[in-house]
């Protein structure tokens, strides 16, 4: 579905990502992990055409994204960015913005299909009860669900999510990722997700990309990517990697400086 070949990209003259090669298949949940500043968000932005591409190519459904106009790209790829929108809009009005790329020419008002799509997205994300409320009135967890509903209203092809679980408690984190898994399974959605929590990434993603200073450190299933050597080298910290007895997926435990000293002693 999405193919990236020899991609070097960044902002102005700064190259953030170098020599990126990867493929994401339809219906896959693809996690992007790595330390701060490793280029995770830049990779998502490059797919939506928001970065400067120095070399290489990104193609979506065998078409170079540079040759697709912005509206067409938005009809296939939607991004759930890290944001707290300060808008005077109800949840329903906000979710309906997702239909903007589908309006032809200067058509200003929603069609029946637009409304049906928004209602379906609200149903899928369990946000129907919020539709009359203002965006400023809802909680952080609800906002994430609303952002996903807007993205779903926009497209059901490829969803790019930039840390959708940041600042949420574990119950909301699991809730959001379970929802994405259901959407992937039931709606055939393809998901690319930037996630800081290595355990959640390991548990929920089919494949992981570990970025280190703008380059690919490792790419593959969680069992291959989450190993103490790669994680310690990339994050420059000591960790313990073990296996979750229920899911058989690897999990990571951090080791504090004090414990490290004690063990060395």
């Amino acid at each position: 579905m999405l193919r990236i070949r020899g991609l070097t990209c960044g902002y102005r003259d700064k190259r953030v990502l170098q020599d990126i090669d990867l493929e994401v298949c339809k219906g896959e949940s693809f996690g992007i992990i790595g330390p701060n500043g490793s280029g995770k968000t830049t990779l998502l932005k490059s797919i939506t055409g928001m970065t400067r591409i120095f070399s290489g190519e990104i193609s979506f459904q065998d078409r170079n994204i540079r040759l697709m106009d912005r509206k067409e790209l938005a009809r296939h790829i939607s991004m759930v960015a890290q944001m707290t929108p300060s808008v005077d809009m109800t949840v329903e009005e906000f979710i309906l913005l997702g239909r903007l790329p589908h309006r032809k020419g200067f058509k200003l008002f929603e069609s029946k299909e637009d409304i049906l799509r928004a209602e379906r997205s609200m149903e899928l994300t369990g946000t129907e009860g919020l539709k009359e409320r203002y965006i400023s009135e809802i909680s952080g967890g609800e906002l994430q669900l609303v952002l996903i509903a807007k993205a779903l209203t926009q497209t059901k092809d490829l969803l790019l999510l930039d840390e959708p679980t940041a600042h949420l408690d574990i119950s909301h984190q699991v809730g959001i990722l379970d929802l994405l898994t259901r959407l992937k399974r039931d709606e055939g959605l393809t998901i690319m997700i930037v996630i800081h929590d290595l355990n959640l990434a390991s548990e929920y993603c089919d494949r992981l990309l570990l970025l280190d200073r703008g380059r690919i450190r490792r790419l593959g299933p969680p069992q291959e990517v989450i190993n103490y050597r790669d994680i310690e080298d990339t994050y420059r910290t000591t960790v313990v990697v073990d296996k979750n007895p229920l899911s058989n997926k690897p999990f990571v435990l951090v080791v504090s400086e004090e414990v490290k000293k004690r063990w060395k002693g």
Binding site: T48, M83, P85, M89, L100
Partner: protein, 328 residues
Amino acid sequence: MTLFLLSFLCLLFSFILALVTGSVSVSFETILSILKGDYTGLESTILLDVRIPRIILGLAVGGALSIAGVILQSMFRNPLVEPYTLGISGGAALGASLCVILKARGIVPDISMPVAGFIGAISVIIPLYLINIRSGFLKMEGLLLTGVMISFIASSLVMLLLAISRAEELHGIVFWIMGSLEETEWSLISIALFVSITCLFLSYLFANAMNAFVLGEEEAANLGIDVERTKKILFLLASILTGCSVAVSGIIGFVGLVVPHFVRLATGGDHRIMLILSYITGAAFLILSDTLARTVISPIELPVGVITGIAGGIIFIYAFGRNRLKGQ
């Protein structure tokens, strides 16, 4: 729908009030006779040559400044930006002041000042745009900062001109800067009305883009909006609206700031509603303010900007306070 009806009724009320009120009261029956062409007395002259031109100019300028405010506030995602923030009014004031000082008013007596004001506005818009365009990208922060700086420079230059001008020139400049709807040249009134309605129509085509802009430029781009093209068009529209309004009526403050705020408080942030409601409300507000300016200490006429500032400020604080209390 109720709000549209209410604002339209408000506009209609402002029309009628402005027609009947003034130093000479004109009854409703007389107005109808004058409009039918059956009556040609003093009231007819007052109505056709003074009040109706003012009402139409109030409609054009009030509407234009309000939608320029809506456009700029959505582009900059800043509720404090108004049509005069970018220095366009400063440029127009400088143009008009130079016209007085250089004694160019006599060239074409009725339109020299508006033309000079418009040239002044254009001579700010073009450098403002050129300074802030980099490889096809219009830099918004730069636009705002440069605009504010240009505004300061223009104000200082106007003050310099005021300082070196003679008493009669001083009066001409100050009178123009304070803003007024006293314009009898029908060609200018028609241009102002045509520009404001055309720009309302054109900006309405970008109402959805403005809704997306409120989420930020990146988010708007993710929703398929051609951000750079839209920014350039909206900047051009806001500049034309402001430039034309200031050229014809001088600097009438507060309309472009308070009306969009007020409408947003009442309706929310959907620009498909906001643009039309702001146009109607802005027009009604300016016509009512002008009527008040003409009548409050009649026969002396107050500058309309004084009324828009005081009345607009009070209404806004009241509405904002009430909204906050309701929210709590």
